[in-house]
Amino acid sequence: MTVPTTTVASSGAATPAPLLRVTGLHKSFNGVPALRGVDLDVRPGEVHGLLGANGSGKSTLIKVLAGFHDADSGTVSIHGRELSSPFGPRGLREEGMGFVHQDLGLAPAGTVLEHMALDNVGHASGFRRVDWSAERTRVRELLDRFEVEVDVDATIDMLTPVQRAMVAVVRAVGGQERIAGGERRGQILVLDEPTVFLPRHEVGMLFALLDRLRAAGDAVLLVSHDLDEILQVTDRITVFRNGETAGTRDTAGSTRDDLVQLILGARDEHVAKGAAVIRDDRPPLLSARGLTGDRIVDLDLDLHAGEVVGITGLAGSGFEELPELLYGVTAPRAGAVVQDGTTITDLRPAASMARGVILIPADRKGQGGVLGLTVMENMSLPFLTRRARGFRIDWKAIQVQAQEACDRLNVVPPRPAAQFGHLSGGNQQKALLGKWLDTAPRVMLLSEPTQGVDIGARREIFKLIRAAVAEGMSVLCATSDYEQLVEMADRVIVLDEGRIRTEIHGDDITKDALASAVYAEEAS
């Protein structure tokens, strides 16, 4: 749809000076590197796509620029001015960067005007009177200029999703204009997966807005997982892989295959999955029948003993939702969960646990464990429910059990008294896995089980899961990490807009096959 108005030359004197240049940025968490020296430059009047698999460092970079994390080393220059981290709590906003995060950061009950005025007032000293009529004029002018037809007095919850996204974008732009003052300088707008939650047919409206920004000489850094979108709307593309810049390409002349190759990097060898006997001759351990949630639509699925079923798709396709639906965290809108031939009526976490179905959530810090408590306390929780029917907790037995689990799973440090929050991500996950495996579950639901987990611990976690499956357990693993699926899964189901798009079995599960299934062209 968009033909770049200015042909971007990849070299030569004609190249305009970049608005934003990132050089050699490093950042690690708990000793696990997230960024290992990334480079990026964004020129005025371009929409620059940023691609990369999960954990490749895209969101870490944006969080550093937004002042959420401090970088360990490296420089950032904006408008030719060189800056180094830390950038302070407001990040690089003062320098002319605007950020639109996936959740847009809008309060449903506030009006468009209030949101825009907030940015303006937030900068002034506290007691300054808000000049509402001037503010109204400014906001109207801004919305008009970008042809966003929204009433300034409308509250956010009255707007359609795409209108909200556009308001968020204009708001980010407007916020910077004020800061620049006087003469309008080129702005840099960072959009973090803005289209995930937008209806397909409305995405074009947002992209038209990006075109108007480009025409005004601004730069847009667009983070997305959607290759088609990136190919359609950007001028240049940078790909991150494992915390490094894998390469930058002009969009014109790039194909989806080039990009997939760049995202995935060199193919590596499969790891033996180990023999597990899939008992699909027996009735499934857990099934979904016509299950419908917020994103998932009418899903049928059988989980058999002895198999690892992977489920994946683009962000927003609904794969993230499935473990929670099956566990009973959120009530399904329609459909049923069937276990051992009976339809489950009491679909709650406590009841699921009693039936031997367990969930290890993706949000390890918020939902998996309590950071402020000890490892042992975190590991004791299911056993309070299951075993300590009596009036007294047998702390000694729990201590012994926790110690055994820590030793068996090689949790470092192997001390149940250590505070859970001080363990690295991989060790936290191993502790949680150990806890749940000790409850002898029949079905294990995993959501992004190796997110934020270093490579060594990943392997150990895969081994643990394969070993559990070999003993007759069934595992559902929802993840956007293809490598993990290749290593672990017996079959992978790819979702698209809540429905099963395709299913890949056994040796056909490769990163390429998964990537092309996930990024497949939309059937029109």
């Binding site: 708990n30 000793g31 566990y327 965290v329 976490p349 406590a350 699921s352 646990m353 009693a354 969930l359 959530p361 949000d363 918020g366 939902q367 998996g368 464990g369 309590v370 402020g372 408590l373 306390e377 004791s380 929780l381 299911p382 309070l384 429910t385 300590a388 009036f391 007294r392 907790i393 110690q403 820590c406 030793d407 068996r408 799973l409 090689n410 470092v412 440090p413 192997p414 001390r415 008294a417 250590a418 505070q419 001080h422 363990l423 690295s424 991989g426 060790n427 495996l437 000790d438 002898a440 270093d454 060594g456 611990a457 150990e460 081994k463 643990l464 070993a467 559990a468 003993e471 357990m473």
Partner: protein, 346 residues
């Protein structure tokens, strides 16, 4: 269990670390030290009145009501909920005892049981609103507490009722054991009970998890709403018991004085969370905090300070307590983190 063989072998060399000593945390005992110093200082300044049996016995006995109230309050606090209605519930309980016993001529024990049941109803209402409609307990209990205060005026006709059956006073106050009023021992017994429930029952552990993270608790099969509801009923019921003790110690009930217990109770709970188990509401810490506070106030009053010193001390203690717990927590955190760090694979 399900997974034994694949990784078992890797664990053994690390097992020696198991014996690593827990880090000593001198901060855990800081308040006890300050208390001891305070006691010593007052004993030196006012030696003829402060370190006497009568004064110590008075300090121990006079705080029983507050201690019982605070021990009830730490239950919802542990579950992450504020209960601002405890003081008016205490007052309600005392007034119900007096009205039923004096005005209606009920048997004193029947009146006591009725008062505790009425108090628990307050907790039932609190818990119902909080869990059913998912509203912040802070605001719910503030409102319900005010409604309760209104009810107190209504049933007491806004007057002080005197002449509660002496049997109640006898069991609370007038027959001291080892020169200390018996209500002190009731408070200690409750302290033991709460400690046992918190540290040694599944209920106490689930409360802790519900307070630390509702999501984690729920995903681990804990009935979080039920638990929060029960904790509100417990705190109201215990406040009712505190009200009964209060009525016993004064042999009367007035419609307003209960409100004065609210801030000291919160001060004791928060100050208590900086002792023994840092960052956690715990009964023994609360006990220490209650008696630390009364030592300070009594000492200052014996030195000739005015009544207002009480407000200064309780209010100041609450603020200092929350700052302290924050500071101590971050410090401890850093040290413990440094302990774990070297083990993290790079």
């Amino acid at each position: 269990m399900t997974t034994t063989d694949p990784v078992k072998t890797t664990a053994t060399p690390k097992a020696s670390r198991r014996t690593t000593k827990r880090p000593a945390e001198p901060e855990r005992f800081a308040l006890l030290g300050v208390w001891a110093v305070l006691f010593l200082v007052f004993s030196l300044i006012v030696p003829e009145t402060f370190p006497t049996t009568a004064n110590i016995s008075n300090m121990l006995g006079s705080q029983a009501v507050l201690l019982v109230l605070a021990l009830g309050l730490i239950v919802p606090l542990r579950a992450g909920d504020y209960d601002l209605s405890v003081a008016s519930t205490l007052n309600l309980s005392a007034v119900v005892v007096a009205v039923l016993n004096v005005n209606q001529g009920w048997n004193i024990w029947a009146a006591v049981i009725a008062a505790i049941l009425v108090s628990m109803v307050v907790g039932v209402v609190n818990g119902f609103i909080i869990t059913r409609f998912d509203i912040d307990p802070f605001i719910v209990t503030l409102g319900v507490g005010t409604v309760v205060q209104g009810l107190i005026y209504q049933i007491s006709n806004s007057v002080t009722i005197t002449g509660v059956d002496r049997k109640l006073s006898d069991t609370m106050l007038t027959q001291p054991f080892l020169a200390i009023p018996v209500d002190f021992y009731y408070a200690i017994a409750l302290c033991v009970l709460v400690w046992y429930v918190f540290d040694h029952t599944a209920f106490g552990q689930r409360l802790l998890f519900a307070g630390q993270s509702r999501d984690v608790a729920r995903l681990n099969g804990v009935n979080v709403s039920g638990l929060r509801w029960v904790s509100m009923i417990i705190s109201a019921g215990v406040a009712g018991v505190a009200g009964v003790i209060y009525a016993g110690t004064t042999a009367s009930a007035d419609p307003t004085s209960g409100a004065a217990f609210l801030l000291p109770a919160f001060a004791a709970c928060f100050l208590g969370s900086t002792v023994l188990k840092i960052g956690r509401f715990n009964p023994w810490g609360t006990l220490i905090a209650v008696y630390f506070l009364v030592t300070g106030i009594t000492g200052l009053q014996l030195m000739g300070a005015q009544q207002y010193v009480q407000q200064l001390f309780y209010g100041g203690a609450l603020v200092v307590a929350v700052i302290m717990s924050k500071l101590v927590k971050t410090r401890g955190e850093r040290r413990r983190q440094a302990e774990v760090r070297p083990d993290v694979p790079a």
